[in-house]
Symmetry: C2
Subunit: 239 residues, 2 copies
């Protein structure tokens, strides 16, 4: 049986240890939830950029009518950008056929951390079952890489990771360290009410409540809104 | 209420965030268990050293008959050292009145990470109740800093941290992130049998089982063998 590991934040695993594996990046509040919404609603691709400057530079590859700049810094919209980091901003009317150049604080960092992986996928509660279905036949090692919040472990990401590990508990070897978060899912994530409470109390959730984005937390708690699994292609695009 | 935080490995917290707080360092298998044994059995002090070279240099401060060199690299005794990293090697006959210059892979790293703390203490199952009693009246923030194993989170350390957090659940604010490990203690640590199983399956435990140190794991699982709390003094000695 191949192994599935939860890394509760990027610093918990040396980047070289991800080489050859499938890395599933999780930044539930809100980067990976929003990426799933964008692609689920028909965006052509989401192109992660490490900085605001890089996002502007990269965006010039597409004509003005075909691109959108999206993301956040410290939870709020970036000056001169088209879209913030709320999943509600990525409706079909907004994003269909467009290329989204996207930069966020924690999510983009986790994507860079995983660059030695054989394959990078994106997970959130919004595409939970699709992610699990895609991993079920995987023979390579699987790494669930949680982005965390401002370099700290945050409960919302390990809750998603625990849900995936739980669904795949018969398919992959899992260490006792990984089972810690699987148990956390079972006790604090399975019921809709306790999942929402846990997300609101999490490090990422507390930030969003303060900023007035409670409806984004509620949206991020919803399971299986889409059946897609975003993957990073060799051109550096999530499709 | 002051806050108590579990950091599941040093990289999970920026060193500056520990400034002004009480940092409790946990490296159950085996550094902090062994330090508690050494001081509990009458050693004058344990002096942490970052490297083998530093340990030799520091040891010259004491006459040959009053000092002992102890520790490990990759689990085994260091050439030219007096003692390995097994708690059984630190008996009263061996250590009474002696200064132990001590270097290990993960434990020493965690101590260095905490150097901005207002106070550094040492915890293991061997001194669990004494550690909790000492923290009960604390008004400063408390950080339980888990050493991990080779830069990875390991279950044995967060299990001790969870036990401390659980005992102090009415005394300190605790985030949902900290409660993850408190729950882990409740489900996997409270009973003697499940605690021992969890330690054997942990990242640090698997290493020791391979090296034939199963009796050290058993010893490390035992609660309240001593009632001391080692503290780092301004001279850099644990006493």
């Amino acid at each position: 049986m191949p192994e599935l590991c939860i890394h509760p934040l990027p610093e918990a695993v040396p980047p070289a240890a991800l080489a050859g594996g499938v890395v599933v990046v999780i930044d539930l509040l809100r980067a990976t939830t929003t990426i799933v919404h964008a692609l689920g609603n028909g965006a052509r691709a989401v192109v992660p950029a490490a900085s605001v400057e890089e996002a502007h530079a990269v965006s010039l590859r597409w004509p003005a009518g075909e691109r959108l700049l999206g993301g956040e810094r410290h939870g709020v919209t970036i000056a001169g950008f088209d879209l913030d980091n709320s999943p509600f901003s990525y409706s079909a009317e907004q994003v269909r056929g467009k290329t989204i150049i996207f930069t966020t604080t924690n999510g983009t960092r986790a994507l860079r951390w995983a660059q030695q992986a054989a394959e990078i996928r994106i997970a959130a509660f919004a595409n939970l079952s699709a992610v699990c279905a895609g991993l079920r036949t995987e023979s390579r090692p699987v790494h669930l890489l949680c982005a965390g919040t401002d370099f700290r472990l945050s409960a919302e990401d390990v809750l998603v990771a625990g849900a995936i590990a739980y669904q795949l508990r018969e398919t992959f070897e899992q260490s006792v360290e990984t089972r810690i978060y699987r148990d956390f899912w079972v006790t604090h994530g399975v019921s809709d009410a306790s999942r929402l409470t846990t997300l609101r109390e999490s490090a990422g959730g507390r930030n969003l409540v303060e900023l007035g984005f409670d409806h984004d937390i509620e949206r991020a708690s919803q399971i299986d809104l889409y059946s897609i699994v975003p993957r990073l292609n060799p051109a550096g695009e999530l499709i």
